[in-house]
Symmetry: C2
Subunit: 417 residues, 2 copies
Amino acid sequence: MEKRNILLVGAGGVAHVAAHKFAQNNDLFGNTYLASRSLDSCEQVLESIERKKNYKDTSKKIQAMQVDALNIPEMIELMKYLKISITVNLASSFCNMSILEACIETGSAYIDTAIHEEPYKVCEDPPWYANYEWKRKDRCRSRSITAILGAGFDPGVVNAYAAYAKKHFFDTIDTIDIMDVNAGSHGKYFATNFDPEINFREFVKVWTWIDKKWVCKPIHSEKKVYKFPVVGKQTIYLTGHDEIHSLSKNIDANSIRFWMGFSDHYLNCFNVLKNIGLLSEKPVKTAEGLEVVPLKVVKACLPDPKTLASDYIGNTCIGDLVIGTKDGRKKKLLIYNICDHKVCYEEVESQAISYTAGVPAVATAILIARGDWDVKKMTNVEELDPDPFLDLLKNIGLPTETIETSYSRGTLKFSKK
Amino acid sequence: MEKRNILLVGAGGVAHVAAHKFAQNNDLFGNTYLASRSLDSCEQVLESIERKKNYKDTSKKIQAMQVDALNIPEMIELMKYLKISITVNLASSFCNMSILEACIETGSAYIDTAIHEEPYKVCEDPPWYANYEWKRKDRCRSRSITAILGAGFDPGVVNAYAAYAKKHFFDTIDTIDIMDVNAGSHGKYFATNFDPEINFREFVKVWTWIDKKWVCKPIHSEKKVYKFPVVGKQTIYLTGHDEIHSLSKNIDANSIRFWMGFSDHYLNCFNVLKNIGLLSEKPVKTAEGLEVVPLKVVKACLPDPKTLASDYIGNTCIGDLVIGTKDGRKKKLLIYNICDHKVCYEEVESQAISYTAGVPAVATAILIARGDWDVKKMTNVEELDPDPFLDLLKNIGLPTETIETSYSRGTLKFSKK
């Protein structure tokens, strides 16, 4: 069977990591192309791969392409010309629908790492996937298109952790608490780890799944302190997130919640900016009559997320705390990954936030190419067998750890499984 | 002697108050004109005067004029046409030099309430007045122009307080601590009491006069808690301010400092905005290529200072804490004014910050018209006899209070004089 050609769309932090990983595994594929609006950005990524000597087969270099991912005919033309059979969408999540459409039209497999967004909507009504991606399920099935949605870390690996818990460790699941903590430090006064325009859009309201019902809460209104392995005690806040919108449908659990760690300093800066109106995506007019979107000005003032990686230290800890029963016994299991910013930088000149999102997308492409996950339909990650995915991730930089915690009252005690 | 015609330049918060006060005292003058870039803004002020029925002589209404105060020939033409003999500059402090020049050319007396500023310079080297206004001293004297600089509250009344202390209460002065506290509340998350562009420019660095030397310190690096009459305990921060630049030359004191009250919340918002770069007057470029000055966007997001007045409650307390000797005895005297936001609003539809700045400028015009202060030269307020000024202010809304504080250690005890 002929090796499959890859089109990687986007040239931001996550695409940067994925390109490195594709280079490290380029014996598994045909030709790989990196395409974005800016050829310059693509070429910077390719220079980084050269600098880190990350091509496994040095005779098969990734090629840079310029494309407008919102322009479906242009995408289709490029994909046909390059004979693409797997497309990895790591562009802005505003582009999901156009890239998916081009895949359906050209017969390419499709992978993304975040839910589709429309510029003037935020935190959409649940299940959010039903508003966009899932409307294309029928067409994917009828055309035998493998489309794997949300195949980053969260969403992505945490969805596989839920399937993994169900498959190996639990008979019934009561609660899945997905917890995402970045305990690293970039040394700047304030910065976002990816595009501030996308980042802040997550923090408008919280859709969460409680007792098999959707509940909407104000942002940052519920928090808890949790003692994580490696990164220790962290304050985490109930947040809305992509994966709840599919897990609530695909995994039988009473409650599925997402928690994100924020420092007091981050929240303080965020709240000042938000309360003053500087995070608004709606234009304001200056006294001189210039129309400008405040959030775009904040973005221009903040450090470019790409520049943070070289000085980043510390670890991320992202995982699922699953509560349920096995053989009639109550059980609590944390399934998680620890990722070290500095180690990521040494390997691929990126930080752990981008690394954890980019590597699983490449693992997914490998599983499609190998056939394990070439399911010829649209699917979310938790609907697939988690074992080959987690096995592969262990070998390419994102090992899974599990800890069963005792059910004694008071402070949780961890005991290594 | 013919009554003198007044030109009031500006239509912001301070000009609004001054226009009301001129209306209340319009029997003392000839014709009064209110001129600014925006005829609309002038007309809004005049409507407010009608609404509050503030004309003493209702047959002598203030007339609105449109003028570009930065355009000297245009100013001269207008002033000649209207036969102006006293000009009160309450426009942006970027306009001082052009308005002063027009006064010198036409023979009009000149009054302002803040030091001249250049758009791309902040917190200029001391004595700041020597960089602009004082360079025109010779021309004012040779043309017999009365030019009274900094005749608002601070600078202005606090300079008169220093002269008053010297004239009546002290043989020697060691320290003058000018303290400005707004203990009022506007009920908004964050707002500035006057144009944010001008407001934030004060808080870049601190020039202060210590032991007869200029010292430069970082902003907000020194604070103290002081128990004020009426408004109680307040945290005040060492700040640079206009009046130190003239008092240090004109009043024999070892140290002259300016302190401004800030709430923790104000400082927190200020610091977040500043550290992120959003208070910068230098343009940034958005991802879309739009050049924009962050501070102008912050200004567009903040409430218009004019809209705060109607809901403002509480008091301001501004005064001089003077330490020195009298008859060989050590002495500590607080000379101050309390101004109530709500009372100001009821009288002139403004808040106390604008009220305290606008009323002294009108008092100064009255003293020039009466002859008490028609000194035919350029002068700062502390060089003039404070008695007629403070007497007049008492009658038009800004009474002076004095408290001698005991010299015991520990908490200061106030005893009403």
